[in-house]
């Protein structure tokens, strides 16, 4: 089964899952690189993936907790015992009719990931980090033009024409979250004459390469683009023909009414970008053959749905939908279903997000997955009983880290944990593991099978890619997919009648006339070679209820939120006096955010090839006012948390803001703990305990806060 040579497979050092080649010699992975038959690139994290694979810290056998949760004390057990533990707990909850109190926090590798299938069969919910990052964008695009993008559907930079505008609004795509080829594609587009415009309160490599850097107040994106749209519409610079043809009748008039007072001058006061620059961008957009926006960090704040709606309006009035250089409308690769397909439970009725004292307000909640950030509150209220986590690290990734720890350690009056059972599967030690009852050793992408065909991946949005084992797994590591398939066979045999993961993928691949064997002969890739443009013209409609573009979100009319607010996110509009700075917790190419494996990867924590510190960045203007100097140890404090670290003075941040890198804070593993680095989520409020401030439309994540800084 294993062979030497350059073997096509897939990287999983981050969620972009780029197609790669691995050089195997004598059963060992020696080198890796991007697959030239796909998009051809692999980033530094991917290159360092060999270090994760062979790290001496790999988890190699199942373990069960022996101390209290949080102590991180375990003893080795057999796989049989581990399977037994999971089955017993799962059966007991299911037999009580409380399947919906099971959640699985994971990253689905495809729309039919076998773990997701199990959760559906069981009647629980998957909860992914996806809502943190993308729900605002997903909901906005679903409501407006009926398609399902997320951060992986960046504009397809390889399609941007000469003169086209690539607008990055709170987005750092050189960090390779979409695909490792994106940086190259953006720079290639620039070379053919496209323009790169970076709207960002911090100056990162994207800004360094930009034709125009526009420092903005964090969270000001909705106001900024409302100003742009106002100018375009009031000066008849919008794409009238497109709007006449495709926008639902009456919506343009309502939009004009709503936007009439969102002048560049008024919006400038909110976003702190001069009105002249808002107008300048509007004029550039009007003249450009295409414009696209990529946003990520900016759409994780409390005004994500507002910003997402403004973004959608911008795309619509400029006609930049499914055109080269604009916003793609992705489709799912037509894989065959593995019948019978289990029906998921009703999320709106049973989902654990319906938590807290004002749970009835969640009637407007529209998101399609459970957001992890209500998990802590749901545990406290007895609405979550079994928690599985694979390839994620909620102890670090959850906003309100302290509340999360409290919830998973909380006991009832009888001394039993409120969360009855907690399983974590991982390849390397993770922070979350410390609270787990059961820890399972997972396989890396070099040891396992996986079929990838999510609609929203930049790299094969219109195809499929195969991750295959190229070397023998270490120790007793088992791929969690197979563990869950085995549980499925024991508990729901009707939905798991296939032999194993490979047979499952084989059946699915029949949908595109392929099989695992054929796919392997085909270099591990399948693609029709087209992405398709203007697909709505062929269909003569958009996939909205009216078949037209819907700008007016009338599903929120009764809470008076059918049009976007230009205001900054609520978390930035309160406590300004006590907490004068806005926190920017950004991402870098060297970390898979809170993912445990990049924190315990020696190359990614090496100063020459990675990142070995998480300083507190502040503009010298602010620092001198506060008598803070380079290298000082300072405290950062928010309404709910406090951390301390070393100061870095830098011109690369807008005054009034504090910059830190998101994802650090792991206290487990030799590499991760060489330098003590704090977790930004210690500063963020737990969303579930602040329900009055929460988004009730299902799109907003609140990953930031105001802070104060002092020595």
């Amino acid at each position: 089964m294993y062979e030497d040579g350059w073997i096509p497979t897939v990287c999983y050092q981050c969620k972009a899952e780029c197609s790669i080649l691995a050089l195997v010699k004598n059963g060992i992975v020696q080198e890796v690189k991007g697959n030239p038959r796909a998009r051809g690139k692999m980033c530094v994290k991917g290159m360092a993936g060999i270090t994760s694979l062979y790290s001496k810290e790999r988890l190699t056998h199942p373990m069960k907790r022996v101390g209290e949760r949080g102590e991180g004390k375990f003893e080795r057990i057999s796989w049989d015992e581990a399977m037994e533990m999971m089955e017993t707990k799962l059966r007991a909850l299911h037999e009580k009719g409380e399947g919906h109190k099971f959640t699985y926090s994971m990253f689905p590798h495809s729309a039919s990931d076998p773990k997701w299938r199990f959760v559906n069969a069981y009647g629980g919910f998957i909860s992914t980090g996806l809502p943190h990052c993308d729900s605002g964008k997903i909901m906005a695009h679903l409501h407006t033009f009926g398609c399902f993008p997320n951060h992986h559907i960046a504009p397809m930079y390889f399609s941007v024409p000469k003169g086209g505008l690539m607008i990055l609004s709170g987005r750092h795509p050189f960090g390779c979250m979409d695909d490792a080829c994106v940086a190259k594609d953006i720079l290639d587009a620039k070379e053919r004459g496209a323009k790169l415009i970076v709207i960002d309160p911090i100056f990162r490599p994207e800004a360094a390469k930009a034709d125009w850097w526009i420092p903005i107040k964090p969270g000001g994106d909705a106001a900024f683009f409302l100003g742009v749209c106002n100018y375009l519409l009031l000066n008849n610079l919008h794409n009238k023909e497109f709007c006449d043809k495709w926008v639902r009748e009456g919506d343009m008039e309502k939009l004009l009414d709503y936007i009439a007072d969102k002048s560049p001058e008024k919006m400038s006061a909110i976003c702190e970008v001069p009105a002249a620059d808002i107008i300048k961008l509007a004029k550039m957009v009007a003249e450009a053959p295409s414009a696209c926006i990529d946003a990520f960090k900016s759409i994780m704040y409390g005004n994500a749905m507002d910003w997402g709606q403004v973004w959608s309006i911008f795309l619509v009035i400029t006609g930049n939908l499914d055109n080269p250089g604009g916003q793609p409308l992705p489709e799912l690769t037509p894989m065959a279903p593995v019948n019978p397909v289990p029906t998921p439970p009703n999320l709106k009725e049973l989902g654990y997000h319906r938590t807290g004292p004002n749970r009835e307000k969640f009637d407007h909640y529209n998101f399609i997955l459970e957001p992890t950030w209500y998990a802590a509150q749901a545990i406290k209220e007895g609405n979550l009983k079994i928690f599985f986590a694979t390839e994620c690290n909620p102890a670090l990734s959850e906003m309100g880290a302290a509340a999360w720890r409290e919830a998973v350690s909380m006991k009832d009056d009888d001394g039993n944990y409120m969360l009855d059972f907690f399983m974590v599967s991982e390849i390397l030690p993770s922070e979350t593991m410390k609270w787990a009852d059961l820890v399972l050793p997972d396989q890396t992408n070099y040891e396992r099978w996986e079929l990838l065909y999510m609609p929203w991946w930049y790299n094969y949005s219109h195809g499929a890619s195969l991750c295959r084992p190229v070397v023998k797994p270490v120790g007793e590591a088992r791929h969690t997919n197979n563990v869950i398939i085995e549980l499925g066979k024991r508990m729901f045999p009707e939905f798991f009648a296939f032999k194993d993961d490979v047979e499952y993928y084989d059946i699915e691949l029949g949908g595109v006339g392929m099989s695992i064997d054929k796919l392997m002969e085909n270099g591990g890739l399948w693609s029709p070679g087209t992405v398709g443009f203007y697909k709505y013209k062929d269909k003569k409609k958009f996939d909205t209820p009216s078949g037209k573009i819907e700008l007016d979100w009338n599903m929120y009319a009764d809470i008076n939120q059918q049009w976007p607010s230009p205001e900054l996110p609520l978390e930035y509009r309160k406590e300004e006096d006590n907490f004068p700075f806005i926190l920017i917790n950004f991402r870098t190419i060297f970390l898979n955010n809170t993912g445990a494996w990049s924190h315990n990867n020696a190359q990614l924590r090496d100063p020459v090839s990675g990142l070995d510190s998480n300083p507190i960045m502040i503009n010298p203007i602010d620092a001198s006012r506060l008598d803070i100097n380079e290298g000082d140890t300072v405290f950062l404090e928010s309404t709910t948390g406090k951390v301390s670290s070393i100061v870095q003075l830098t011109e690369k941040i807008k005054p009034g803001c504090i910059g830190i890198i998101h994802g650090f804070g792991q206290t487990v593993g030799q590499v991760a703990t060489m330098v003590s680095c704090f977790n930004d989520n210690e500063l963020i409020a737990d969303a579930g305990s602040h329900l009055d401030e929460q988004d009730l439309r299902g799109g907003e994540a609140h990953v930031s806060t105001r802070v104060t800084i002092y020595k």
Partner: protein, 185 residues
């Protein structure tokens, strides 16, 4: 003059360090099992320079491998004749069998690129992937660069290409055999 060279396009390098890790993997510099951060040898490193005050900022990124100097100070310094500039390629090569571990080369290298294997007592550094290039392949960093910022070839040809593409050679940085270019603006 026979000189192979790498040309670094500073319009494209983003300082992502992908080349650093790929180079280590290829040249077997990293012990994935036991190396800890800070102790892993490297043949190429990323440098950058930012200028200006908010909001008028500029920043350049580039990589620094061995510069394969025209008259290599490391070769002159080595008393055991372990370092030579290859006549056919212009690549500066260390013969680790001849190296006595005297570290004279490390003292004299103006660019601080020579690594030392203390366990086996020899100096080593970037050899422009000699074994690959003599078989018609590019050095690994050039092949895998995330942004295609690097090009490889005979120095005079690379200079001509830079000129044809409207790029300016940054003279102060390009005095040896690695060329640094940027758009003339």
């Amino acid at each position: 003059m026979k000189q192979l060279s790498i040309m670094v396009d500073m319009d494209r390098c983003i300082g992502c360090k992908t080349c650093v890790v790929a180079c280590r993997n290829h040249h077997n510099l990293v012990n994935h099992r036991s190396h800890m951060p800070g102790e892993i040898p490297f043949y190429i490193k990323v440098e950058s320079q930012a200028e200006g005050t908010f909001p008028h900022l500029k920043e350049d990124f580039w990589v620094s491998p061995c510069k394969h100097c025209k008259t290599a100070p490391c070769a002159t310094a080595c008393e055991s004749g372990a370092i030579r500039k290859d006549a056919q390629t212009g690549i500066v090569l260390i013969d680790k069998d001849k190296c006595t571990g005297a570290k004279k080369c490390i003292e004299k290298c103006p660019y601080n690129v020579i690594q030392f294997n203390a366990e086996k007592n020899y100096a080593h550094k970037c050899n422009m992937c000699y074994d690959r290039v003599v078989h018609g392949e590019e050095p690994v960093c050039v092949e895998i660069c995330l942004t295609n910022a690097l090009s490889f070839g005979e120095k005079e040809i690379l200079k001509m290409q830079a000129q044809a593409n409207g790029k300016e050679i940054i003279k102060a940085m390009s005095s040896q055999s690695i060329i640094y270019v940027k758009s003339s603006s």
